[in-house]
Amino acid sequence: MDKFSKKGIELNSESGIQEAIRRFFQDAEKIFDAVMLPMRVPAKDSYAWIMIKDREYLKDATPIAPIMPVNGAKALKRFTRKGEARLKVAALMRPCEIRAAVELTKLNQINLDDVILCSYDCPGALPMQDYISEPEAGEAKFQYLLDNDIWNSAEVKPVCRICDKFSLPASDLHFAIEQGKVIIIANSEKGAEILKDMNLPGAYLLENWDRSIQQIKQKRLAAKEQNFAETKNKIEGFEKLLETFSVCIGCHNCQSACPICYCRQCYFDSVTAKPNADVVMMKMEQRGGLTLPMDRIMFHTGRMAHMSLSCVSCGLCSDACPVDIPVAEIFSYVGSQTQQAFEYCAGESLGDALPMKEYKSDELSELKAILSDATAQEVADE
């Protein structure tokens, strides 16, 4: 924990966690010009991002939504990428969304100058399919998690179950949750300024909270290790990779849902990626037969090569997949490997240079070590 977060301020949580957060934004009316947070859609079967100036709308908002239909970073990108914002906006998002926002900021897709990033201890999000099929059941399930302080639920999305970065991302303000209590923590200098201006009463010691967060983290890390081992087993080697993605229908939904896929036009949707008839025919003759369309694996591995260094494991790709490929777990696993190779963690801090922008003189020897390990592994395998 850094210097800003040793102490927090307890918010009035008598009416529940959601209400405590709503009330905070109500009280902070003079500080932020607008607030961006989720709200249940009128049809009651999903959530949408809203940005509100009129605090009347706050009462209909759900600060901690049970699902994540669109990554908040994508919403943020819509109003910060181009031109200058006039207003100061507080954006309340899940930690993985904050990390996506940080990553996109480094890639010049978001401008955080007038944004105050607010995060909270995230219990995870429910899988979209589950929620949409029975929204009310989903609401009840999620409320149960919040009310009973459940942090390692099997109901949330698989990537949420193995998420160890569910608390205190690189936000300005963070809502810590400890047994039904909400404590606000200044998590940056910007955040500290705000809390100072608000002059809220009562300091709250965070030792117990921190301890419980660490415990949850340990459990999730263990789950992650196991999940990664399973994923590795599922996809390693070309045959298995092919098998895993064999059901892919090439809809590219995963790419549209991904906050990190920020390209204007995906290479795989471009003319360049569409081979000429003669090449297709030649390949067909060469191989004896072809599956069509033919760029299925190429698309996924290509996307992996392009974005795995920045993957924040938000899991939207899995939610978007109509044929239930565990895309999120695969990308999370691969992303953690590639990021490790660069000693990088996507979205963790604005200060860490993106991999490849930075050259370290020991990189070559590390690469040599990785390669020789790999060779040793191959020899051992044989």
Binding site: N108, C263, Y267, V279, K283
Partner: protein, 1013 residues
């Protein structure tokens, strides 16, 4: 003077001679490069790796060698010696003797059959006798020129009149036993000597057992052993039993720093050479232990100390400060070293192999050469030059570079080479060159929209390719590929008649794309591109498949598979050729003026050199006086720096080509090579001024380290060396009676976070101490040092000071001298200095009347802002970072910007002068052109895909990309882009494409590869 001549003679084709030739040729001058051996390249090709980057020596040199061979303004004469010179600067008549080669270079195709059949086997000089060669041979594999020559002292026919086998086997009929030595007369305006150095021969050093103990080798022999292309293939084994050594010792200063053999100088490069060999050897052999026996480790160059620390800490190389007095051999062939520490203790250690770090000495024939040229040599037998005219010989019009006038490493040799060019041009006629294509060039055929009609040519390269690969069947398979209209095999695609064949076939079959399957594009692509443009095709409609280096050479023992691979490579090449489009090279206008930032010694010298070549410059100085740091230097052994400085200031101040701006500061720099616009503000002058210029020389200097160590500032008796020099200069010194003087070296240098040597402080301490001794012979001088780094000829002064009784006390950074004021309340208090004396093995306390600190040279803080403005880089110490520490020591990666003087790294005055001249001559290679041509293979941006994330902008080493803030897309500066492709690889959005290597082209290559299998 009436400058008429446009020719120069360069003697010696090592790295210095090559660099000098390239610079001269780029100025539009005609160069005659003469070389005694059978190839250009000099020492560098013999080296495996180079310090401190561990770059492969040949890999970085080869491009320069081929550039030299290709340059239309350079005429290479191998096996050629200078025999006489007459005339005056600007108009010399030189006679050179070109030895008979007995092989017609026009006919010889370097197939190598002759050597394989030659019955003579003699020691190969290139491999230090570790391999045998024939009497007919080529100097080394990548020799330039590549032709074979006959060694007349070894050839059986030429010595005994029998044999003539090579004549029979030569398929090109190139052997000519009747060849005679030829005398050639050359009229040149200036001469540059780059004859290099010899390595010391340790054969006379009996106590080291060289040549009598099998496992004692010289550092140069060891280098060949380490080299992957060397006689052992990089696998080091002992000569005695072919076993890998486990323990390896290096003995430093063999033939250096040794008065007994009249070598009272330091060879400058061997410490780093040994460290490099130790590191590389350890990388080759896991578990190898290495020890370097030395008196001092002289890692005084840029980033050398970091390399030294790495060797110590990361590789565990042991550095043993002692003198090896003898070696004995065990029965098993191992060697027992007897060595003596400073305190007289004697130790013995056993090693499996010993490497003698042999020193450098003048060429054996230098006296003879000096006689012919009527130039003088110095006391060590090197060419004589002056501290303030470091590149001049004693005869006007004849200049030196490389190690001719003193031992030096590679980057310094390169610097001296460019520097010597700036001297030579004083006597030559420079004309601004027009680089745009000549009007009489063949008009280019428009092939847009045409169906590809590919011509494929497969080269035998004698037996180089055809000896392994079935060339005819490769051509046959090429013929069957789609769009290939014509395919044939050629004996030597690069020979004149074959190039004519290619041109004819283009016309005959109306070809619009050409692929040649032969050697490497690195050496031959320019040649073929030129050929097809002579036939009216855009030069970029050419593709090359490397079926030699990457096929026949790599798979010598598997001819069938090699043939298959060659077919694949050709198929891939054809696929790429199918997608090729014509590219244009844009001309960039060059403004003929220079901007020099910094009016110290370096900046003024650059200005002087540019003006001497007839070019204008703006010289900016931030203070109200010119001179920079040199204003504080009063002594330089036998020369007077202040006198030189005054002359220099007077000279440039009176020159109408030099516009001096004092009290000036840069507000903004815009533009790129050839077209810079710099906004400056001059103090007390409200108006800003905009200067337009084509190049920039950064000569901003450095500053003295401000220390708080050793109680500096707490007593008037604790001063820096700079203050001490001032004191010595003031006549009234010393006011207080001085008995004991302590000097502490490395104050603020060579420490964590500042791991570099300030280079000049050891010499400065020695110089000031000698001056003090001259005035007050009875003063006791103690020098607390870590390594005494009086490199090169500076060693003499160190010896002199030691002889005069100065005490040198060694210390390690964890055991620094302790300093205490005798009276804490006295501002003029004397100082007690406690040092651990390793000689006496106990602490000594000296009551010092003066404590003199050798404070470091620090990079200027302003460098950071300037670097941003000029888009150039700094190293971790804040010094400006050159394009390549070895071979481009004065250029920046950003084209058109150069560095000189302390801004680059700490250095002595002669070195600053040299580098300043080098920067001027590198700058002149641009200024002397009306325009230059940008690359054709450059990156283009697909605006629909670019998201303006700026990833590419930060990755580009040439600062050729900037994101347009309005449009939010990346914009390529076509003048600066070098086509390296790093941005393309980094772009996540596939918005970038490298012309000539587009995604489409590369994918079609992959597809083709798949289809062949």
């Amino acid at each position: 003077m009436n400058k008429k001549n446009r020719s120069v003679l360069v003697v010696g084709a090592g790295i210095a001679g090559i660099q000098a030739s390239l610079d001269l040729a780029d100025l539009g001058l005609q160069v005659h490069l003469i070389e005694e051996s059978a190839s250009i390249g000099g020492r560098m090709p013999q080296l495996d790796k180079t310090f401190p980057t561990n770059d492969c020596s040949m890999c970085i040199l080869a491009p320069k060698m081929s550039e030299c061979a290709r340059h239309p303004n350079i005429k290479i004469h191998i096996k050629t010696k200078l025999s006489a010179i007459s005339g005056n600067p600007g108009d010399f008549l030189v006679k050179v003797i070109e030895e008979a080669k007995y092989v017609d270079p026009v006919k010889c195709v370097a197939c190598g059959i002759c050597e394989s059949k030659c019955p003579v086997k003699t020691d190969d000089e290139f491999d230090m006798g570790l391999r045998k060669r024939g009497a007919i041979s080529r100097y080394f594999l990548q020799s330039i020129p590549s032709e074979y020559t006959i060694d007349k002292t070894k050839c059986l026919y030429l010595t005994k009149g029998v044999c003539r086998i090579c004549e029979k086997v030569c398929p090109a009929k190139a052997i000519n036993y009747e060849d005679k030595d030829k005398e050639i007369e050359l009229n040149v305006g200036a001469v540059i000597l780059a004859t290099g150095i010899d390595a010391f021969d340790p054969i006379g050093f009996g106590h080291f057992g060289y040549k009598s103990f099998k496992n004692v080798v010289t550092s140069l022999e060891f280098e060949r052993m380490l080299s992957a292309s060397g006689p052992l293939g990089g696998h080091v084994v002992r000569a005695s039993d072919k076993k890998e050594p486990q323990k390896l010792a290096f003995i430093q200063c063999v033939g250096s720093r040794d008065e007994s053999i009249d070598h009272n100088y330091c060879s400058a490069a061997c410490c780093m050479f040994a460290i490099k060999e130790a590191i590389i050897a350890q990388e080759h052999m896991k578990g190898l232990q290495t020890a370097i026996f030395n008196m001092d480790i002289r890692a005084y160059g840029k980033d050398f100390d970091k390399y030294y620390e790495k060797a110590k800490n990361q590789y565990g190389v042991k550095f043993i400060k002692s003198k090896v007095s003898g070696i004995t051999e065990t029965e098993a062939g191992s060697l027992i070293l007897k060595y003596v520490f400073e305190n007289g203790e004697i130790h013995y250690s056993e090693f499996d192999m010993v490497v003698l770090s042999i020193g450098l000495q003048p060429r054996a024939n230098i006296a003879d050469l000096a006689d012919k040229l009527e130039i003088k040599l110095n006391e060590y037998g090197f060419c004589r030059s002056d501290a303030f005219a470091p590149l001049q010989t004693t005869r006007d019009g004849i200049y030196v570079c490389g190690a001719v006038n003193g031992p030096r490493d590679i980057p310094e040799s390169v610097t001296t080479a460019s520097g010597a060019v700036a001297e030579a041009v004083k006597f030559l006629k420079l004309e601004r060159q027009d680089m745009t294509p000549k009007e009489d060039a063949v008009p280019e055929k428009d092939v847009w929209g045409e169906r590809p009609r590919i011509g494929a040519f497969v080269c035998h390269c004698g037996i180089n390719i055809a000896g392994v690969v079935d060339v005819k069947s490769v051509a046959e398979s090429a013929r069957s590929l789609p769009n290939v209209e014509h395919a044939e095999d050629l004996m030597y695609a690069c020979s004149q008649d074959c190039m004519n064949t290619i041109k004819e076939r283009i016309k005959e079959h109306n070809l619009n794309r050409i692929i040649v399957a032969a050697c490497t594009p690195r050496t031959h692509e320019p040649l073929f591109r030129e050929t097809i443009s002579e036939a009216g095709l855009n030069p970029y409609l050419f593709e090359m498949a490397n079926i030699r280096d990457q096929c026949s050479w790599a798979h010598m023992n598997e001819p069938e598979l090699a043939t298959l691979k060659a077919k694949d490579l050709v198929t891939m090449g054809v696929a790429k050729a199918r997608e090729l489009t014509p590219l244009k090279r844009l001309p960039i206008e060059i403004n003929p003026r220079a901007l020099i930032i910094g009016g110290g010694l370096a900046g003024m010298t650059s200005a002087q050199s540019l003006a001497a070549a007839g070019y204008e410059c703006y010289l900016l100085e931030k203070e109200d006086e010119l001179g920079g740091n040199m204003r504080n230097i009063y002594f330089n052994f036998d020369k007077d720096p202040q006198k030189y400085l005054a002359e220099l200031v007077a000279d440039i101040s009176g020159n109408e080509l030099i516009h001096i701006y004092k009290n000036a500061k840069i507000d903004a720099v815009e533009g790129f090579v050839g077209n810079y616009k710099t906004t400056i503000a001059v103090k007390n002058n409200d108006k800003q001024e905009i200067l337009e210029h084509g190049i920039i020389i950064v000569a901003t200097g450095a500053e003295e380290h401000k220390t708080t160590e050793y109680l500096y500032g707490e007593s008037s008796r604790i001063i820096t060396q700079v203050e001490f020099e001032q004191m010595l200069h003031d006549q009234d010194f010393p006011k207080p009676k001085v008995k004991n003087v302590v000097m502490i070296q490395c104050v603020g240098s060579r420490e964590e976070g500042k791991m570099y040597c300030s280079r000049v402080c050891c010499t400065k301490a020695v110089k000031n101490a000698l001056n003090l001794k001259k005035k007050h012979p009875n003063v006791n001088i103690y020098v607390a040092y870590r390594d005494v780094r009086t490199y090169g000829f500076r060693e003499k002064y160190y010896t002199e000071l030691r002889d005069q009784g100065a005490m040198f006390v060694h210390y390690e950074p964890e055991n620094k001298p302790q300093v205490k004021l005798i009276d804490d309340f006295d501002p003029d208090s004397k100082v007690n200095v406690t040092m651990f004396d390793p000689i006496m093995n106990r602490e000594v306390v000296v009551e010092a009347d003066l404590l003199i600190l050798a404070t470091a040279i620090d990079a200027r803080k302003e460098n950071i802002d300037l670097a941003k403005m000029l888009k150039i880089s700094l190293n971790t110490d804040g010094m400006f970072l050159e394009a390549h520490v070895k071979l481009r020591p004065v250029d920046f990666a950003t084209e058109g910007v150069f560095v000189a003087g302390l801004a680059h790294n700490p250095k002595d005055m002669d070195e600053s002068i040299t580098q300043a001249k080098a920067a001027a001559s590198r700058g002149l290679t641009y200024l002397s052109k009306k325009s230059i041509l940008a690359e054709g293979t450059i990156t283009e941006v697909n605006e629909d895909r670019c998201t303006g994330c700026g990833y590419c902008e930060e990755i580009c080493a040439y600062n050729a990309i900037a994101v347009d803030p309005e449009k939010e897309i990346a914009v390529i500066n076509e003048a600066l882009c070098k086509g390296c492709g790093a941005c393309v690889a980094s772009c996540r959005c596939s918005a970038l494409n490298l012309r000539g290597f587009t995604n489409e082209q590369l994918f079609s290559v992959f597809d083709a590869l798949e289809l062949t299998n």
